[in-house]
Symmetry: C2
Subunit: 341 residues, 2 copies
């Protein structure tokens, strides 16, 4: 069991029991007993095997504490939804309108600009730190190539047909990704990274593919975090701007994690460097370590956002709020977080 | 514990444990053990105190079995939502469009026409059965008054401004309701019914207000049933046509139960007549009896719908499907179920 300072409680392992006792959460496992006040909790993430009382479910709903059940790699499976959650229709209505009136194209563009900026920032960061001059130069050059593409994309004129717009923006995204992952081979190469794979075969080549496995687990964790805020602001997680709709795909969530992916990439690189993630680790153990680091460290990272320093989790909240401000016409663009090099 | 032939499992009482065992649901309580195949289950309704394993939550999500936690009067509190549920954006988008393009007005009108028709039908039904000629005549006359209003409402020309439209339709609804509840005093009067109250004081006057209490519990159960289909068809439960939006109100669900309310009214009257609901019953016990009767009998009632006889629960499904057909332009109106007199 892990509790982060931000109120994330992660339940792992077997035979854990969660119930309500005297207005508090009581967790009982073979390792001991713990009690938590609901006001100190924000989210309970269950990746292990546990049992939950219905009294607790009601108390969580009443106190606005989220509960999510995930696979061990963090893929969200089930969420507890209080009957009243998602009651603000206005944001969803505006979200839908943006899909049709050209504003969806601005959002899609801003997200990929934000992602590309952070990808370029990563390459510069590693360029500076690299001892080999040729590697350092290659990283720097590729960062510049990405920066150029980002500048071009910034000036991309949004237009009304989101389908066309999406394709054009995704073409930029793909170009940038090719350059970026090619350069990241220098950074991740010593851990066996050859190419970016969305579905590394975890059964046979776990040892050699620790990088892809870690990235995929990390992106799942990002999706879980942003999904929460998407629901909290009453947005429709299935209506995406960048990612076309496909039954069952949380398109908006996958849109919104784009600028965060490079931040996660850097986090994974630092964990690999300090040997926190070791080759030969079992995938399940890798997921446990990553999850702990994600909730304890990653979400606690301080970054500048809209002129002030905040923890990354606060930024995620402000960022979805920012999107809503755009949707309801209070802002002309969506601010994405920037990770400095 | 109650299991209906339609696959509703209702968990009441204390200390019930629900878990997965060999690919089946295992229910353990002080009264015994039961096993169910997931394919025979449609919905688990927990009104008592139980504990649920996360393995079971995952299996329910995977097998498409709904889980809902309610208060003892049936008010839905928490619902289990699989990550992939609600993935069909199209229906929601059309639902939203109907709010703005005048079609929402047609839906609102059809729902109140359907409700009024069933209210008039109830009064005729009781008029026929009444032994007192003056009561019988009064019921018959009030049924005719309602019928007239329904005919006028049928010819109501829908127009684009839903706010105005809604007010005009709700004015018909209120007029009909006044006539109807005034007449229903004849039917319900012997059980202490004086006027329709949405919030009868259950602490002090439970004995004298068994009718209002029963009606409210019954309408909650209706809301729970239709909420399920609203979510299953990917509609937004908060975006209503008839009921204006209010944070946290399941407006669409409350729209859709309108034509079903009179069917429930007749059901409650029959339960009162056969002494199934007795004055002096504790509210909690009343809720237990009603819930059992609702899932075992009410949802099993056969009614004609769109030319064929179906069980009421099947009708609820077909009816939401019918609404979707209207939303996507395959039908020109929404068919509501008619309860014959």
């Amino acid at each position: 069991m892990i509790v982060s300072s931000l109120g994330h409680l992660i339940i792992e392992g077997y035979g854990v029991s969660l119930r309500k006792k005297r207005g508090r959460l009581l967790v009982v496992s073979s390792e001991g007993k713990w009690e938590f006040a609901f006001k100190n909790l924000r989210e309970i993430i269950i990746t292990g095997k546990a049992s939950i009382s219905t009294d607790l479910l009601k108390a969580l709903a009443f106190n606005g504490v989220d509960l999510i059940v995930t696979t061990y790699t963090g893929t969200p499976l089930v969420r507890l939804v209080p009957a009243r959650a998602g009651g603000t229709v206005r944001n969803r209505v505006e979200q839908y309108k943006c899909l049709e009136d050209g504003r969806g194209c601005i959002i899609a563009r801003d997200l990929i600009v934000g992602k590309g900026r952070n990808q370029a920032s990563n390459l510069r960061y590693y360029s500076k730190a690299r001892s080999s001059p040729s590697e350092s130069r290659e990283l720097y050059e590729k960062a510049s190539m990405i920066k150029e593409l980002v500048e071009k994309l910034k000036n991309y004129e949004p237009h009304g047909d989101l389908r066309v717009c999406r394709e054009e923006i995704m073409a930029y995204e793909a170009q940038i990704a090719n350059i970026y992952w090619d350069a990241m081979k220098i950074v991740y190469g010593e851990y066996g990274f050859r190419e970016r794979l969305k579905k590394p075969d975890i059964r046979e080549s776990a040892e050699m593919d620790i990088v892809n496995l870690s990235l995929n687990i990390g992106y799942n964790l990002l999706a879980g975090s942003l999904w929460k805020y998407v629901l909290r602001f009453g947005l429709d997680p299935f209506m995406g701007f960048l990612h076309a709709e496909r039954p069952g795909r949380l398109s908006l969530v996958y849109d919104l994690i784009e600028p965060y992916r490079p931040i996660l990439d850097r986090f994974i690189a630092s964990l690999l460097r300090t040997n926190t993630l070791k080759q030969g680790l079992e995938p399940k153990k890798l997921a446990v370590i990553l999850r702990e680091k994600y909730y304890k460290d990653f979400l606690n990272y301080k970054l500048k956002y809209r002129g002030r320093k905040y923890r990354l989790e606060t930024i995620m909240f402000l960022y979805v709020e920012d999107l809503v401000s755009f949707l309801i016409g209070r802002k002309s663009h969506v601010s994405t977080p920037y990770i400095a090099w």
